[in-house]
């Protein structure tokens, strides 16, 4: 990499507090021209808050941001954009019902100019996508694109505005390993064209592969920084996690009989996401079954079938040896299926219900919580108090509205709700998404505990590392089809990546450097 000492961005002692929580504590670092700096840290370390301050979404309590030597005014979302900083958010900010071109040109010209000049805009997009190898059609409707393509649109959005500094927030979380390689090609092209990049991640090997320099954030504080050639993953991990978070120890386990089976199950598409295509899968006792795949490839359909929200259009599902005729959420819960939903805010809990009401959400209609249509609030309250105690849910009390809890505590309540009855089948759909490291370890240890007492755990995750660490057996889902079963350690990430891209069964041998 070329080394250039021109400083393009500097954060000076940024501090931001939310109530009692200090999200950023006097964080300072800088970015030089043509450099890739990785901002490394676990979830909850304060990376996203820092970037929101840079973009004026939040106002810092203390500290300043300088871009090309100029101090940005606080709390102004246009200032950073106008100064030539662009950001690709972890959660894409695209309008699905609009075209790629509309999304890219949004807000570029003054609102009061008379025309969009669509011809010139289109030519420019095509040119940029060729230069930076970001293949995507300007006329395509964003809702019809794959996740990888949407990310390209996000990057094009920034490039179209002639950004000099590009910030990517966890850009690889949703990509296959091969797509990650493509992204890195694009980023290297961008650096060659004179851009400077901040790459936010918690994945060490990626950081080592792309960055020139690493700054590490822990508990809102800068815990270290190093040039990549002077460091290694072990010392970075120490800086990132410290010594206080110990991941659970994982012992192997022998699989038991099949508790739940899908036999050649097909389901209709859900919006633009594919349904299942003749999927057969057995969930065996004493086992964690990991389901890897890029989001939107049929995971939702599979989770719906297991969780009782959807009956197969073709094929059938078996509970033990019994073919299921009626399979609803309620029947699933009564038959010992614990369901940890993908989105704990939208589907897992009701934000304005208190903890008690949320605790009985799946079982309010049965004894002991109700009798003949009348609720027993005393029993419900006792149940909630029990969960709060046993699963260490930090809250002012069972009467608190759940919207006021952190994601980790919300997830703990859900865990308690579904695991209290010692279910035989556990459906864990993205169970640690967005949680901080402590909560992640807690959730994982609970899943392992369920397995060790004989349950079958279906773990659906986009995080390949999580799948590969926890699962006894791994499947990959792509376009609604399931790969063969792989045992732990049998496959490298790159090999799984081929399956994630939907090319697993093609005879062509492809080799990727990892």
């Amino acid at each position: 990499m070329t080394k250039d000492a021109t400083e393009v961005l500097r954060l000076n002692r940024i501090t931001k507090r939310f109530g009692k929580l200090t999200a950023n504590d006097a964080v300072s670092f800088s970015l030089n021209q043509g450099e890739v700096v990785a901002l490394l840290g676990e979830n909850g370390a304060g990376k996203t808050t820092l970037m929101n301050i840079l973009f004026g979404q939040y106002t810092a309590d203390d500290g300043t941001v300088e871009v090309f030597g100029e101090t940005l005014p606080a709390g102004n979302s246009r200032a950073a954009l106008d100064a030539g900083v662009g950001m690709v958010h972890q959660h894409f900010t695209l309008a699905d019902n609009m075209t790629v071109q509309e999304n890219i040109t949004l807000g570029v010209r003054s609102l009061f100019s008379a025309s969009l000049d669509r011809g010139a805009a289109r030519a420019r997009i095509v040119e940029l996508s060729e230069t930076f190898q970001l293949a995507v059609s300007p006329e395509a409707r964003v809702g019809n694109l794959t996740v990888g393509e949407r990310q390209r649109v996000e990057i094009l959005k920034a490039l179209y505005r002639d950004v000099r500094i590009l910030i990517l927030d966890e850009p690889t979380a949703v990509l296959t390993p091969q797509e990650v390689d493509d992204l890195f090609v694009t980023l290297k092209q961008a650096v060659a064209n004179g851009l400077s990049i901040i790459f936010i991640s918690h994945k060490l090997h990626e950081v080592m592969a792309i960055a020139d320099r690493v700054v590490v954030l822990r508990h809102g504080k800068l815990s270290g920084s190093a040039r990549v050639q002077d460091t290694d993953t072990t010392s970075l991990a120490a800086m990132m996690m410290g010594t206080d978070a110990v991941p659970p120890v994982i012992a192997t386990s022998a699989a038991g009989e099949a508790l739940f089976e899908l036999k050649e199950v097909s389901t209709p598409n859900i919006g633009t996401a594919p349904g299942l295509k003749s999927v057969s899968l057995a969930l065996r006792a004493n086992q964690i079954i990991g389901l890897a795949g890029v989001s939107g490839n049929g995971q939702a359909a599979l989770a719906d079938v297991v969780g009782g929200l959807r009956m197969p259009a073709q094929g059938h599902v078996l509970l033990g040896s019994e073919v299921l005729e009626k399979w609803t959420p309620r029947v699933a819960v009564q038959n010992g299926v614990a369901r940890i939903p993908e989105d704990r805010h939208k589907t897992g809990t009701i934000a304005d219900f208190d903890l008690t009401e949320n605790a009985i959400l799946e079982q309010y209609s049965t004894a002991p919580f109700s009798k003949k249509g009348w609720l027993n609030w005393r029993k419900a309250r006792a149940f909630a108090d029990g969960i709060i105690e046993k699963y260490d849910v930090r809250c002012p009390g069972a009467g608190t509205r759940i919207r006021l809890l952190s994601g980790g505590n919300m997830q703990k309540l859900i865990l308690g709700r579904v695991l209290e009855a010692e279910p035989q089948i556990v459906l864990a759909n993205q169970p640690v998404r967005g949680l901080d490291i402590g909560a992640v370890n807690y959730v994982h240890s609970q899943l392992l505990e369920a397995r060790d007492r004989g349950a079958s755990v279906l773990l659906i995750s986009e995080d390949l590392d999580e799948i590969m660490t926890l699962s006894d057996v791994i499947y990959v889902i792509a376009d609604g089809r399931l790969s063969p079963a792989f045992t732990r350690g049998e496959m490298t990430p790159a090999e799984l990546g081929i399956w994630m891209a939907g090319q697993g069964d093609s005879p062509k041998e492809v080799s990727y450097a990892s």
């Binding site: 900010t93 609009m98 807000g107 969009l116």
Partner: protein, 314 residues
């Protein structure tokens, strides 16, 4: 057979266009609001206020176009109130909309009673008169139907064109539509979601009030209570029927008005005389519901309609 003949008279289509005109204004207004993500149930009351304001202004001595402008400003004021409560404060668009309708209606009636305490039948004004467009008005059928209307009607058609161009061909329209699809995308590009949405509701409400003013200043020449009579609600159905597109909404309004004009004429036939008149009066409302049922399956609702946007929500 006489019904079929009616369909080929210029006077029938002229009536349909006249009936459609106020609906076009108000439907466009609602469409702008909803495209930016705000359902405006204040429409019914804002039309009442516009009907009164325009007419009252002219009655007090202003010229017709000034009256139209005053009606629009009154509508915009109610739009400001609506948008202030629903956009930055994110209050329920249902409740605020109904509240605005009630406030606009009752304050209009209050103002009417204060302004004209003694009158038993409301006074008339010199309303807009038909303006035949040279040459075009001589086209058979079409000329009589389209080009012999009042200038206020012509304005409705021009506005459909203007709104289409702004929505689909300008950066402002793009930003506005995006605010109704994904406000976070708009904010990420440094654009003010709150400002865009409020602006849309204010402008849209202005158009709704012009729709009301059409009733007192062009369709009729005087103001009376219950004049709007559910037209606002029908316009909300028309927006859905028109798939949130100005051109389609225009077609919907004209189609709807044609049915309305037809039922008026059928009422006067020998066949119509045997049927209770209430059946005919029900038709517009029943048609609106049927239209909603027809399009409901394939409705492309703006994705963020009725979803408030709170910057930096945690």
């Amino acid at each position: 057979m006489e019904i079929i003949d009616i369909l080929f008279t210029a006077s029938f289509w002229a009536a349909a266009i006249r009936i459609a005109s106020p609906l076009i204004f108000a439907t466009l207004g609602e469409l702008i609001c909803e495209r930016a993500g705000v359902l405006n149930l204040g429409i019914e009351g804002i039309m009442v206020a516009g009907a009164f304001a325009g007419w009252m202004a002219v009655y007090s001595g202003t010229d017709l176009w000034t009256g139209v402008a005053i009606a629009m400003f009154v509508g915009m004021a109610f739009g400001l109130l609506h948008s202030l409560l629903t956009v930055p404060f994110g209050l329920s668009q249902h409740v605020v909309g109904l509240g605005v309708t009630l406030l606009a209606t009752s304050s209009t009636y209050y103002a009417y009673r204060l302004a004209l305490p003694e009158v038993t039948s409301p006074p008339k004004i010199d309303a807009f008169q038909p303006l035949e467009i040279p040459l075009l008005s001589e086209i058979p059928l079409l000329g009589g139907a389209l080009f012999s209307q009042t200038p206020f009607t012509y304005l409705a058609f021009i506005l459909v064109l203007v709104v289409s161009v702004v929505l689909y061909r300008t950066p402002l329209g793009l930003a506005l539509r995006a605010a109704g699809e994904n406000p976070a995308a708009v904010a990420a590009q440094g654009l003010p979601v709150t400002g865009l949405r409020m602006g849309a509701v204010i402008m849209g409400s202005g158009l709704m009030a012009m729709g009301g003013a059409f009733l007192t200043m062009s369709a009729f020449d005087s103001f009376f209570f219950e004049m709007v009579n559910g037209r606002g609600w029908i316009c909300i159905a028309l927006v859905v029927f028109g798939a949130w597109r100005p051109g389609k909404a225009l077609m919907g309004a004209v189609l709807f008005a044609a049915f309305d004009a037809l039922q008026i004429r059928v009422q006067q036939t020998s066949f119509g005389a045997e049927i209770p008149y209430q059946i005919f009066l029900m038709m517009p409302y029943i048609l609106s519901i049927l239209a909603l049922v027809m399009v409901s399956r394939r409705a492309e609702v703006p994705a963020a309609l009725m979803v408030p946007f709170n910057k930096g929500e945690r």
